[in-house]
Symmetry: C4
Subunit: 499 residues, 4 copies
């Protein structure tokens, strides 16, 4: 059926709650009824009522999502974009100075470690994108603990071992890979790079690194799979939908396209509240009465409750057999946080778990995965169950020495998320390739210096992890006493040179 | 008896120690004899000798206090206020900039957690009010430890639990309430809001939260009770007066007006010395000789000794039976700080205690209530006494995760004081309503993420509290070594952009 | 014998190493031979060769010292001071700004605790005096640990104890005193106040506090004893001289004048090197070749070796019987630092020890006295020796709660040094009186809040001292990770007010 | 054979990869083939193609290296330097301000401890030299831990011991020395002083201190040996070359020249990556496309792999007998890091080990030597092996108290590296002499204060080392709570003086 081309004016008339149209990629859609069902809340759409919403839509959603979630009858057809008045963007000094920072950013060759990418990304990303990627739950204590926990573990290196040849390769869920880390699933890749998650796919392919594809990707699942090369390995991360049919469709499609593992997220019955992210989004300009009315404040719970429309908070152990019935992929629980639940997973015949606190984005003061690992593995060994399950961890890894510590303590592999997003956001695919290379170089060096030629030579005797259980909070400092203390000084240089 | 209207001039003549009159709310009073008995010291009144003292009086005292403490014969009758010369206030730059801060304060919608209210309140409150609310004893180490102790406790969350429906309600002293926190008693509410404690009453009513009414309220007790709605629950906090008849009258009046619990403060035989508060009040302008004479310095002990006129420092265990004899309300000891005293309370038939260090305002380096709780509950369980007494705690709670930790460790409920005062001081009733809503949202989220559907599912197996007993004071840093250390840097941006 | 008055010119001629005369208090002395014997090194004297040295001499030495150490034949008689040309002092901007600080210093009434005096003193004292008083050994780690160790101890307060009447008095070495602290010996009082140590004597007298008189006082011993009132108690601190006859004379004179205790310093076989002090004294103006010649640099060892001329580094246990033979005063060892030496002291029949690290001025990373105390007392109790010896401690006491903690752990009393020097340096005698009063008020409050009516009710069950043994040095922070972390922020105020 | 003098122009023509000549010390060399074999990478040489490379070459290499590594046929003969155009150096503001700092640097007499030298050196050294000396691996956590670990150890001093005469001398590997520290091997001495390592030799000679000669010295081995006086003792540090003949030649030459010990470095199968050093060297000016191409970035592994051409990563226990066969010098393993390897060394008949992490330059979060020592010695004593091996440690020593602690815990001696380099870089030989003297003075004082007359009186009973095993990483601070805390203040001075 041939449809008449719509004009900007046609759309502009439908700019209210009774009839709300928007334009996306040159096509118009009637979202009047959908407004109240939008997981991100109605406001996010309604501000584009009668207008072109493409720019706001694109980094958040894969393109096929409209086909999946909006009835065909609401697809109104093409719009003659020449008739659509472009929004005039107000001058934004923050954006201008960001552009200057982009122009003067360090070269890729000046990035020597994963922190460096994060530092560049922080300065060249849009605030809203940085806010989404970098934020954690509540006071972000777990977010930071994830990395600092590694500094509680110290090495006990062996010397005089022949380490001329070091082999970094290993296997995960039966697939070979060149190094014991994988790209873990993170949402909304297009916030960092216009091409989105496929950038990570390509870099992973170049390095022989496994990638976990996120449910909430901004590229479509198929785009991401299409981007892989040869026998490159991919896994699927899954948020379980209340509608099990949707879930079944996703899982079976992934299996059909060759995914080698199904990672079910179990630590997010409700998506965490990340205040840094919320504060970034807050539009400070508006100042109406409602802003001070507690009943009308658009509380975080709105988003959280809405989103629970597609993440099922009732997911429980009783659902495991169902997943086994719909796929032959190995089922992995992602987000396990205590030894009791690892034991339960073994009972349920689960072949692998990821110890994870979701990058510090869910429950604040949940412990780091590396700490949980140090509790889990000795218990498994005690019960002679350590060969019954593969244990992965993620969160806070920034150095290859972190990976080596995890492997010494019994992890099969380590997931890395944000660092690759930051490398991508700062330098695109080349950034990710370089980040992975740095990590590989560090890994080889670390293996040599700790005295191991291959990953199976890494064991608990090479680390001192006694510090892991300690959650030290220093006694509050007595301000008066420390303020009055006259600090020692180093020898002063003469104010005037002795010429 | 019809009294002649007094003039400003009549009052102004009585401006000395031999005859001291003041005006309050349009009436004159002879306070000559009362000067020396004033718990806050004579100076606080005498500076108004012969003048209108209403503005200084109001935030500190409930209106009926004159009737209770000043003999009828000293009530001199109405004053023709048109004849009273208004004090000319000197220009105060600090007050002017405070008014500017009030005009530019963040909207309520920008407050995402309890810290945010404190931050706004600090900037919009009068210094003297902020000083009174925020101060703690000595070096304020306990004040800060109260919150930071919660960071010594980490979660051990359960996953794959069906948490679609979360029930936050519980009961305290037999009364139902919507959440396991209550508004604890804090003095001088009118310093924060001209309406005083009734603001808290109304907000608590809207949320189904229990309120504890303070002895030192700036609204009268009856005003606070009158402000409650329906079956809203209130408790009475009591400073025991040396004159037991006064105490008896207060207690029985409260019981008559429906209070459901009597919380006797036991941690304040003498009111703590809060130097931040004292320093704020210090009038730097005066510079007479006496300021340097140790004998005439108005030492804190003056206030402390004076106030001991109405707080009885001799209160002891032997007085418990007396309280039982004058009321049927459950008697709760507020301020217990060691397991031995909890055991003693059980012996004395006390149904509940509040573990508390009085918000860090009494004895510095007294431990946090949450630490005491972690010592008390295992001992009670060991002796099979844990069902014989309800244990509450207060101090330092800022996040719902703090509340969940307390409940996991065995608390029946948690008192919150300052945060609601700050919400009130910054945004009035709406602020308190919003603060409570934020806490409720956080609580529901926290319950889901820790894997519990109702408060009775919270237990010690969900937390790792091994860190609680540790009072870590780092070894003083070696300044020279740390000053000379050349800190690593992140990659530098070019000074000039590569255009 | 009538001596002819000398003139300035007469003296000025003797300005070289072959004949070196100086003027002190209007009299001339021949110090040619004495130069090399001066404990403080020859330079300190020689810079006054041929001139008036009174100003440099006075704060360091008691007036009678010349009589004791310089042969009568070297006393050259009076000088007609009108003939002596006054040194013209160069304009000193630092001194001018110090005078301004003195003029604007806070009133005594603004000092609310011992830290406050230190803060004022630091700003109003001459740099060289502040450097001498405030400095510690090496990196001053022990200096600071001395106070911060108290924050490793937390209270376990008792409630519902009748504390209406609190009795702070106690006895030390058999003498009654109003509070369980004493003024410990500190050198060179005139650096802080022109009157010197007698200021402390008077203040101590007003408060019923015991004073320990230092060997290195700048007032003479007799001046200090003369300043006491009534039955005021004084002790003598003793540096043992190589020449035992000098020591004997000092000890027996002190006993004769009523001293009630002999405190022999045992932690200073060599006086510690305090770099802050040395750096302060360093005269930056000079810039000769010798400053860079390691052989001619006036190394600390010079002073240290010189001073060992009058402090005997060979002092050992074998000398104890000698001291017993020359005095009936109780002999106390000041500076004991390990339990083994306390046990040895008991064997030697010593009735008391002071656990002390000499205010952090001798061996750096020697532990705090309070930590040693917590090791000593349980061992003494285990051996049933706790009644055989009185144990005192000093160092780092700033709050009455510190004193209470020490008494709970078994100390008989607590010495306080620097804080009273600072109070004296900032406000003279009134400062010291006020400092003591503050401490007394704090003490009474602390007793009430911990639940004790008298010092004998203080015991180990009132404190949690488990943290004392821990010497925590945090793992060095990973600068990159912490620099890149984007700290959470509080709600921002609008830049422009909403007017 | 008489060679014709070359001209600058002759050399300048050979400025490409096909023919690359450079000038060194007035002579030309053909390095075309050598470029790809240069351990430091080809770029470092190629930038001097056709030019005079002396200035860049000199601080890095000993003069005889050309004879050893470049075939005679490539030695092209003398160059008439008057025909060589001097490179015009661009104006360098950083260099200018460094010259000003040199002119105004503190006199040697203002340096009171080892930190002081480091502080001066940091400001007067060239950035690239400072970067090389001061850098450590990765996050430099081990680098800093090396010193801060000493603050985890506290003294338990003895008093009343006769310490009039203190004897600091001891013996190491059978050689007498005046103090229990030695100058450990560090590379590239000419970066700090134009004369290089011989400066350290002379200073060590003056003080009776043993020196360990580095493989990577910038003076030649023979120059360093020639600089010793009398029976001054030297040891050789050895990086084992893949070509064992080269190694054999070096070892036997050293033995022939009188070296008394062979220290084989075992902690460097690959040289660590020091990012501070790399970042310093990065030439920010260049900005070509390659800087952003991950394939062409001159990655650290390039240097690391190249250098492995002369450091043998296959070195292992099986090589020990070979070393025994080629020398009679005692063989010492430098860089042992765990007790298991000390035990193994004993099995292999090794007479001594150095516990070391290579100054924090190899594996980050490897523990400090002092911590390993505290693990090793009790185990040796338990097995009665403590007399079978001498144990040395190095890393982080800055105070004589650090040395005393090490000796108390069982070390035979302590190596000091960077501090003497810094003293040399700041003040040349006089600096090193003074640094050693300061350390000796500190040592004597420390011995007196800890109560020991000679090093054999130092034992574990004099220290409390319980803190050593703890690797404390504080829980991340809750920024909001700490930002909102209103810090206590000290009494304010009046803005305007009371004149």
């Amino acid at each position: 059926m041939q449809q008449k081309m719509l004009t900007g004016k046609d759309v502009a008339e439908h700019n209210n709650k009774d009839s709300c149209w928007i334009i996306l990629h040159g096509k118009a859609y009637d979202v009047t009824e959908f407004l109240s069902k939008h997981p991100g809340g109605p406001t996010a759409i309604f501000k584009y009522a009668g207008k072109d919403a493409t720019e706001g839509f694109e980094p958040i959603h894969p393109p096929e999502i409209l086909d999946e979630h909006l009835d065909r009858s609401k697809h109104l057809g093409k719009v003659d974009m020449s008739t659509v008045t472009a929004e005039e963007k107000p001058f934004d000094p923050e954006e201008e100075s960001r552009q200057q920072r982009i122009a003067s950013k360090p070269s890729l060759a000046q990035c020597f470690n994963l922190h460096d990418f994060e530092s560049v990304a922080k300065q060249v990303m849009k605030k809203i994108a940085w806010g989404y990627y970098s934020s954690g739950a509540d006071d972000e204590i777990t977010l930071r603990e994830n990395h600092s926990a590694y500094h509680k573990i110290w090495f006990r290196p062996r010397v005089l071992v022949d380490v001329e040849e070091v082999n970094s390769s290993t296997s995960m869920l039966g697939s070979k890979c060149s190094v014991p880390f994988y790209v873990t699933a993170t949402a909304l890749g297009k916030l960092g790079d216009p091409e989105g998650e496929v950038v990570l796919t390509r870099a992973a392919g170049r390095h022989g690194v496994i990638q976990m594809i996120p449910t909430l990707s901004s590229c479509s699942f198929d785009e991401i799979v299409d981007a892989k090369k040869g026998d490159q390995v991919q896994w699927l991360q899954l948020y379980v939908n209340k509608d099990r049919e949707i879930t079944k469709r996703i899982v079976q499609h992934a299996e059909g396209r060759g995914c080698k593992g199904l990672f079910i997220t179990v630590d997010a019955p409700q998506l965490g509240r990340r205040e840094k992210d919320i504060r970034t989004k807050f539009n400070g300009a508006a100042s109406d009465v409602q802003k001070n009315n507690p009943d009308t404040i658009n509380r975080s719970q709105g988003v959280a409750r809405a989103i629970s429309g597609f993440i099922d908070p009732s997911l429980s152990w009783k659902d495991i057999p169902y997943f086994k019935s719909i796929t032959k992929m190995p089922i992995v629980l992602k987000g396990v946080q205590r030894v009791e639940d690892v034991l339960k997973a073994i009972e349920y015949g689960i072949p692998a778990v990821v110890l994870s606190n979701h990058g510090g984005r869910q429950l604040d003061t949940a412990p780091s995965a590396i700490e949980i690992l140090a509790e889990v593995m000795p218990e498994l060994r005690r019960r002679n169950l350590h060969d019954r399950i593969e244990v992965y961890i993620d969160g806070g890894v920034r150095r290859a020495t972190d990976i080596i510590k995890a492997l010494c303590l019994g992890a099969k592999g380590v997931g890395i998320g944000r660092p690759f997003l930051y490398a991508m956001s700062a330098y695109g695919e080349q950034g990710v390739v370089h980040a992975m290379q740095l990590l590989k170089d560090e890994f080889e060096m670390g293996m040599r210096l700790v005295g191991a030629k291959s990953v199976d030579e890494l064991g608990p005797e090479l680390v001192d992890a006694r510090g892991l259980g300690a959650h030290t909070v220093p006694t509050p400092v007595d301000s008066l006493s420390s303020d009055v203390y006259d600090r020692l000084v180093l020898p002063p240089f003469a104010v005037k040179a002795k010429l």
